[in-house]
Amino acid sequence: MARTLAEKVWDDHVVRRAEGEPDLLYIDLHLVHEVTSPQAFDGLRLAGRPVRRADLTLATEDHNVPTDLVQGPIADPVSRVQVETLRKNCAEFGVRLYPMGDASQGIVHVIGPQLGITQPGMTIVCGDSHTSTHGAFGALAFGIGTSEVEHVLATQTLPLPRPKTMSVTVEGSLPEATTAKDLVLALIAQVGTGGGQGYVVEYRGDAIRGLSMEGRMTVCNMSIEWGARAGMIAPDQTTYDYLQGRDHAPSGADWDAAVAAWDALVSDQDAVFDKEVVLDATAITPFVTWGTNPAQGCALADVVPDPQALPEGNARDAAERALGYMGLTAGTPLRNIAVDTVFLGSCTNGRMEDLRAAATILRGRRVAPGVRMLVVPGSMVVKLEAEREGLDAVFTAAGAEWRSAGCSMCLGMNPDTLKPGERSASTSNRNFEGRQGRGGRTHLVSPQVAAATAVIGRLAAPSDLTNDSAESGQ
């Protein structure tokens, strides 16, 4: 029978199937970080259970780590205890950990692909909703809660009901100056926060094929923001080129065997999806959010929408509350919105291409007076590579702060937070109330928009910049 990509990967991992029960699914890789794991390790200890496959488990420190110093203990005692707990747990249970300061440390969803341990056709889980990022490689990757973390640690499996499948076909090619981030923000605005609920989504079409691996990761990363269980992209030459030669990628005859298996990871021609969505890439322009959920966004060229124009009910109520929280008035051109802070980083946009794109815009320009710009590479490898290319010098010359790897202001568990009422343009993935700090106001943007916004001080696209490097402050 014709099957979708998601169904193929699912079927390959079924350990046990029984009528009336969820499938028992084998997990190829379990990624672990300090926030969602302590209670799971405690559970193991209480029950006297070992980690079944420590060799398929990999841990990193990312959410809590301060990004302004690499060495030394974490100042916040609660964060410190959490990170130390992870270290103790990993040592006790034999799990490999990349701690702060390690050359391979970084945001869990940045280091997996970078190490080459994220590969096509795998099942990958992590106690973190943005695990969907790894789907860019044609893996079935999804976030789980702490009880499930414990379950995977103990059994290397998860009992799961078979998900529905959806295809999102993005036709045409993205206009120049439009990015993967704009694409996914526009998609989410179209389908709504709950549009993907219960589905594993496969992104397809020319615009998706045309994206680099990093762009594909940005798209898959935000699958969860429209409710999808996971997002996937069939592997192709772009995927193989990215993977080959990386630390954990197969080599020699193993590589050939792997590629032969990966080549089969496409949805069959006549496979049936439970739902299909089509998006026209050619119509997408730089996109930003104005509200407090990722679906509350529109083209940068637009104005803050009027809630009264929405049908009475949930959407209108939510829009009204969002404008109140964001301190915005309907009808204001988005380009008039001034920000205090620009955050470039996170597992959505904290990779080399993102940093390069922003640096290209900032080269020879200055961050506007009164604006604080934080550049936080997604991993130590990204940091070092950027420094080799001299990007750190570009950022600091522009007046931005150059930091170490971590989640940082994406969720403000470390000291990088917005103060009440402060407004940011952020390349992260969530604009929820208080996400970047109590009372903070977040506009989600692409790295390019982030950089242009930093220079102008108001939400802006690179096309708003003149060649005059003395743009700042106007």
Partner: protein, 197 residues
């Protein structure tokens, strides 16, 4: 986990859609390494507003939360479930839940009950007009009863059985250890490993 068969209690209505996990339990609280004590952090930013519905004295002791659609959207933090149960909630009723939140609830002893939007609206009106109104969430019958409302909800047989028996999921899976070992033998050898310490 305690078995859940049926629960009757008063309810509180949270008239908002897309209530995300960052609101249910802000990230400050995620630094804790314990599983208990999260009730104090439940909706902590909203609770600073004296007019927030959870602060209303007439809703003290409510054990059922009636919420708008897409409840629990956002992060995978199970701390959101721990906060709700620690506060005293046994069930949440909503037209639609975010997937991970729903899964976490079913592991953590909080029953997520999905009902049609118009029924949720009726329940919302009911508890707002009469905070003393009792709602029964009957897992055995897969039915919600309150006032004039009698509405069945869906939950697969397996999960229902597991919750009613209060069974540990891990224990259930470990019964299939042979199947897991058999699967492991067949895995291609080129699949990556993290090289354990």
């Amino acid at each position: 986990m305690d078995p859940f068969v049926s629960h009757t209690g008063t309810a509180v209505g949270l008239r908002r859609s897309d209530v995300d996990t960052d609101q249910i339990i802000p990230s400050d609280w995620l630094k804790r390494v314990e599983r208990t004590g999260f009730g104090a952090g439940l909706f902590s930013e909203w609770r600073e507003d004296p007019s927030f519905v959870l602060n209303a004295p007439e809703h003290r002791g409510a054990s059922i939360l009636v919420a708008g659609e897409n409840f629990g959207t956002g992060s995978s933090r199970e701390h959101a479930v721990w906060a709700l149960t620690d506060y005293g909630f046994k069930a949440v009723i909503s037209p639609r839940f975010a997937d991970i939140f729903r899964g976490n609830s079913l592991k953590g002893g909080l029953l997520p009950v999905e009902l049609p939007a118009d029924v949720v609206a009726t329940l919302m009106d009911l508890v707002e007009n009469d905070p003393e109104a009792l709602i029964t969430v009957d897992l055995e019958a897969r039915e919600v009863r309150a006032g004039t409302v009698v509405e069945s909800f869906e939950l697969d047989d397996f999960t229902r059985w597991r919750l009613m028996e209060g069974l540990d999921d891990i224990g259930l899976t470990l019964r299939h250890g042979d199947d897991i070992a058999f699967y492991e033998e067949k895995r291609p050898r080129w699949k990556p490993a993290a090289r354990a310490l």
